[in-house]
Symmetry: C2
Subunit: 135 residues, 2 copies
Amino acid sequence: MLHADDDQAREKFGSVLKHKNMSEILMDHKLAALGDAYVNFIYSMALSRRTGSPQGAKVQSRVLAEALKRANLRELLPARTDRHKQADGAEALLVYAWIKGLMPLEDAVSILYQHEKPIEAFYSLILATKKRLHL
Amino acid sequence: MLHADDDQAREKFGSVLKHKNMSEILMDHKLAALGDAYVNFIYSMALSRRTGSPQGAKVQSRVLAEALKRANLRELLPARTDRHKQADGAEALLVYAWIKGLMPLEDAVSILYQHEKPIEAFYSLILATKKRLHL
């Protein structure tokens, strides 16, 4: 079953987002608030699929901050940006790509699913997202 | 853009879920843990769309428990079930329907989006979900 409605409404909201470059996305704290809910959900889904049993999980700031750094995106944030705000950057980026239709939820879950270690999973997802963004 | 992958992988995981009836879904605490992440995400997305600005939110147990009661599903849980476990029931039900492909994420967001008050939004979504489940 595929639903045309899915993407229509998401794209409608996506037109609200008018970011000029990657730094602007990474520093959008409103987007990070939505991204926090998104990231916990896709990670919970990936974990559930890995273990074959439903579960919920919260992704730690430490994990997202480290993944962002490995993907060479931490350098786009001001030098004094703390770990929590670095994690916000990763959350904002990931949900931005989903809203814009560049990284479907299912693709994101599948990428996370392939890695046992959370940092590697998010590094891989951030890298794939970066490539699809062309910024 | 529609992605066939989306539903293939979700349905693959969905085959793991073998619940016989509504009570069994409502009392599945593992499913509720995944459902918690799902519910917060769809509600954050609906709020974002309503306000035209991205935001994150956690749905209160009180809201989900009341919505479940209005949809006449609270009676399927044991009498002494506390409010938190009632909310778990709503979370389990909503994510179950998504995993099974009966309530696409976008449909869920659209239903929530139509109501200003959270209890009415979730009552409406639970009712629509109940109808699609045929249990």
